[in-house]
Amino acid sequence: MSRVVVLGAGVAGHTAAAFARKWLPSRDEVVVVSPKADYNWIPSNIWVGVGLMPAAKVRFPLAPVYERHGIAFRQARATELHPEGGPTGADPYVVIESTRAGREGEREEIRYDFLVNATGPKLNFGATEGLGPDGHSLSVCTDSHAEETSKHLDAAVERMKRGERLRFLVGTGHGACTCEGAAFEYIVNLEFELRARGVRDRADIWWLSNEYELGDFGMGGLHLKLGGYITPSKIFTESLFAERGIRWITRAHVRKVEPGRAHYETLDGQVREFPFDFAMLLPPFSGVGLKAFDRDGGDITPKVFQPNNFMKVDADYTPRPYEGWKARDWPKTYQSPAYPNLFAAGIAFAPPHAISRPHQTPSGAPIAPAPPRTGMPSAMIGKAVARNVVGMLRGDTGPGHTASMASMGAACIASAGANPFTGTAAAMTVFPIVPDFERYPEYGRDLDQTFGEIGLAGHWIKILLHHLFIYKARLRPGWSLIPE
């Protein structure tokens, strides 16, 4: 009997576990370790955060789903990797600490034949003083954060109904943030919702981000064929904001958040304050901080993880200037170069470099959007990793299936107002996600497959995807036929 352990039950981990279970014989064991009892369909947190959807609609308990499908589940946090085994033998194992109510902190060692690290990010609110729900700003990164944000929005709307004029600030809470797309979705939904609640005229809505130009989204922006022109996403995004009366500040690193006030520094070195009544600022991400040890107990964390705690995989991490990177530097199989039975999937793998050009303020603060690797690419990586693990358990000498972000596209629907008749969404596709300037010298991407448009149809697709992906995540009949 073999055992595959998957750390994390987000999009990547859940996909990897579900496919591993589907493809492996029942004598083999699949174990999922996740600190949370629930699955959260994160893309729909945006609607929770503006009060359009209760959090219960974007989450469900994992244990019954896993029980039904023969996947073992531990509600726990992984703390230590022992890829060479330990004092009792050479079998690799992972140490976990329970997060179950009443059993918090209980430790367990789980032996594995293959381990998939899909732990996702640590929401690093601590990188900016005062950032986050425990500080003075809000977030939609988790369902509970989004729920809290929605309550603050209700309170703000009440104040506006009483005649107050309020200032809303949405964007990134640090110069090294990623997931600008989520903040973008939130701000346009916020604007739509304030209009729907009849208080838009009393709201000043501002975008503040670490992007060099609007529409960068951590992927160096993109170019679209629009109206007879090849148009950068900057134009697309500016138009969307201008149409909605949203104002913007870019090239900014937030240094500190105080009650009702954000302190930020811009790329040209100006240090400024922004007074606000409501701020939803995303945190930067880091790895979750797993430690790795060799057989003698020596710390080998730097061998397995990058300094930012994301896991090293089959990428080319050779340090080189931004101009020197190539699409082929990006990982293909997500196998650890140090341990062949160790894989990473989703946000947990260390990208070899930034896609957006990194900058620094005169004081040395980063204005450097990190590459996104959520949603569709996460799921596709999770599935490819599962395929490789299953293949190697069946006797393959190495991982034969690839899912490089430099040869994969992404389809993305960014909601811009949720109403079945008057709502809109920006529907976008991009190919490939990581620009490949060797294959597509001018823009790095295939312009025939990179497109975007705004309309009600996009909103209908967003609704469809919400239900489809939650159905798939619940592993209902036919789930594996739904594409990632």
């Binding site: 500016e238 149409e243 913007w248 008749f421 190919f431 448009e453 309309g455 996009g458």
Partner: protein
Amino acid sequence: MSDIHAGDQPERLKESFFATKPTAFTRFMRTFIPWQIVRFAIINLRMLRIIARSHHG
């Protein structure tokens, strides 16, 4: 970059003044249901093409 510290600016001084904006016709078509049904089919096909290409990439 807009400048919040410049106080209440007239529209013509804001960065949004220099951004492209949709015409009334474009805005109408965005929520005009018969047209959006057509776009729904087209966008889905384009997305399926990307998904198929990515799965075989």
